[in-house]
Symmetry: D2
């Protein structure tokens, strides 16, 4: 018997589609039948750069803007994000573009301030089993993007989602972002099989983050395409105007030009798969 309940297809056979209210007016939908594009830099680094990029991405048809404010970094000596001041920049980008925004929450004590500005709260892979955090998120009426832990099994991942859903918040989006294996060429190994498996086991939507999954920008496009062909409901892609100078994750970030090329091909694929690539009306 499967240990997860409320997230399973046995509990609810109809695929869950999550509506993200866009400040610009139109909802963005994440779920079966749609292909949703989330993009932005790894971290919000400066007001000027973030706003410029946000407008660019809006014009390319991106549906949701990402940007890290509180960054979980392996070393205590790495850049950890702008925190509160970055949140103000994000709020401005949200207002200018009319697009919903997503950022990671690492600490239950940050929830209040993030709740008011952010449209989707992200749980990073290192916190997938931070159960205190998951329980708090279960109390909120806000969509949660739950990244798979670096070495989490499919079952543990769905049980982490169960923590949120059983707490009362059904708006959970799963995000495959690569698992840890023996292979040293790539930062992680993207588990593309997770896409059809999750579709079979759960009614929750699943998207793929090919940037973190590979750690190499050259691989982002083929993996993004593979994700959509395998049935993913969307993508989360890191984009930076000047990847070589990014304060974090530059090697896996696409330039806007490369992102645009990726997006064109993804759109053609999504159409072949009968997925609606949402028109962003923001």
């Amino acid at each position: 018997m499967k240990p997860f309940k409320m997230v399973s297809t046995e509990y609810k056979s109809e695929p869950t589609r999550i509506h993200i209210p866009a400040p610009g007016g139109n909802d963005v939908i994440i779920g079966e039948g749609y292909c949703t594009m989330i993009a932005g830099p790894c971290a919000v680094e400066s007001s000027e750069a973030y706003l410029e990029l946000a407008v660019m991405l809006q014009h390319l048809g991106v549906h949701i803007l990402r940007g890290g404010l509180f960054k979980p970094r392996t070393s205590p000596y790495s850049f950890k994000g702008l925190g509160q001041s970055g949140l103000d920049i994000m709020a401005e980008a949200r207002s200018i573009t009319g697009l919903p925004v997503i950022t990671e929450v690492m600490d239950v004590r940050d929830l209040d301030v993030l709740y008011d500005t952010v449209d989707i709260l992200q749980v990073g892979s290192r916190n997938m089993q931070n159960y205190s955090l998951l329980e708090e998120l279960g109390q909120l009426d806000k969509p949660i993007l739950l990244k798979r832990g670096l070495s989490a099994t499919i079952e543990e991942w769905l049980l982490a989602a169960e923590y949120i859903v059983s707490g009362g918040n059904e708006q959970v989006i799963l995000c495959e972002r690569g698992i840890r294996t023996f292979e040293p060429y790539t930062r992680n190994t993207v588990d593309i099989g997770a896409v059809p498996l999750i579709k079979q086991l759960s009614h929750l939507p699943i998207i793929v983050d090919p940037s973190h999954a590979t750690g190499k920008w050259e691989m982002v496009r083929p993996i993004a395409k593979a994700a959509i062909a395998a049935g993913a409901d969307g993508l989360m892609i890191e984009v930076h105007q000047d990847p070589d100078r990014a304060l974090s994750d530059g090697k896996q970030s696409l330039t806007p030009e490369n992102f645009s090329r990726l997006y064109e091909q993804v759109i053609r694929l999504a159409m072949l798969e009968d997925k609606e690539v949402l028109k962003n009306k923001g």
Copy 2:
């Protein structure tokens, strides 16, 4: 510096395309710009069943027939294949359909008898580092399909190919078939990132075997599509008329109906990717 030489894109920038002479007349090509379909049962089980399936697959447009004769089995008590008598069946299927055939070689002492009948010799994942065998294959003028070892790194895999190529045989086709990870839901974890990585590092063609990579027939179609979207040059798929009664690997085998559905979708994808799905004129 990379430890592999002759298989690298530095050594030869032009993608290698391998011509498989078909007994029916037309060559089958495996390599960049083509999408080649290899299909058949895990093991040749009986003359009647194999010939019936071979003709079915020919009519569906499959380019190469597979079928195991000498099966590497984890347990000494499992069905190990028909051996020599299976080879006669395979030769008959080859003659009737005009299609090239591929089977696995496990033992250097079987090379002579296989050489005369078989069009492509397969090295299984358990023998990827059987260097005595690789050295013998380097002496042959016959295409070799080299499966990735269960826990082989990309580098070790390319070095295994280097054994064959440096011996004088440049006709090596790489085949990703899943790696071993901590995830228990699937038999293996398909490393879809291997496709763009190999394309970047090597001029050799790469195909994907989604049947062994997942071990679950329900996952074969999405993973096959993902492979083509990621840039793979072809697929190897297990098909069986009655998977529940297969003597090996039934759980991962498609019925001919399901295979036909997969192939249709793969063809549409391949066309989107500007890959020629070879017409089989055999």
Copy 3:
């Protein structure tokens, strides 16, 4: 260059020995030259059982009592510990036996209440990269036992320790508790090589938890002995009067009789290795 600094042997060549003030009067030392035994049940389940076991373990010469109050459980439907009421039981056991106590902290909001009663705060493997928590622990003047994450590299583990030490708290004890691999027979694979590696790279003490590392009580004794022979500074062992009825982790818990047998053998080994097995004067 190594990315960790203050925890490295380059920064401080003298091994760090951590003094745990025992309520009964004598300090317990964890570090090079000592073999420290931490034991107790996975979770504090009832006052009667915990106090009885605590006295038993005191008489067997255990130096520190363990017991879970806030349990991180993979499923939201599992027993999550007694929380605050368990803390009162632990305080009583501490007072009766005179032994220091250790329990896991999962949430920064629990720190205040735990700080007053508990002698060592444990960071569980799921929270090894919960950087908000690590930063808070860096502010405290209380020893921290930092378990290795399930798939954390040695480097990531030492960087997690660096978070605490660079924050101002140098009293960090590392605890190897098994890593995730492909092997299904055991819950985890104990990385015994981590013991000599940590000794080479860092001045911090390292102990081993063979109960979680194996998940099978039959393996606890041989692995405990291997840990001491490899140079570990101590052990953390799960003991339960009635493992079959334990509310969590029964399969990996030793009966007091089996624990006593283990401890005798460990003491002989520790003496051979010139490690002082502390006399508990509590």
Copy 4:
């Protein structure tokens, strides 16, 4: 139900002890209650060096001499061993010291020539699932040392042993030599838990190879000690007079001085564990 039969403790509860006839007269025993030491260089490199080292090791009380003749190398461009000419050197060392010798067999076609000179035939980790080879070895009346594959589960390893035993050769010694994990600091991760697990599941003896398992000579001694404390029946250690100039595996080889220090400590541990460290009467 367990898939292996003849190697299991259900089939035969009495531990198997394997007698290796020593050319010098006294048998060497490998099995429960004994601690057997196998040592020598990774590869036989020259007559002078090998004979000198062999005599040194004999005087230190080593029971069996190792030395690679046919080396499985990841790259086709690495030193592959002296082959037949190395065998003559090994035969001379065997004759001079009176000690049994062990070397790896990679190819069924080498069996005849090796059979006459060598006392134990080793199957390397890359060939653990080379079933053609295993089947041939099952026909011989010669002890076989079967190394665990790099990513072989305990079950697959025992099934590989079952191939040999079910073929008629019951003289199989298992050798744990490290498994592949995500950890990059060490070449492999020694699975120390394999020792008690094999003791529980099988009657066959198990030894540990800490040299290959770690890839670092500094770790060989602590891991060797851990292996004996965990219950291993012996050790296989790489020793080289000048590790920096070794043609293969220099980084993991001990100098004779360091080996001597290791052996002293192992002997003390073995005595504590009531294992007889065989007197070498050769």
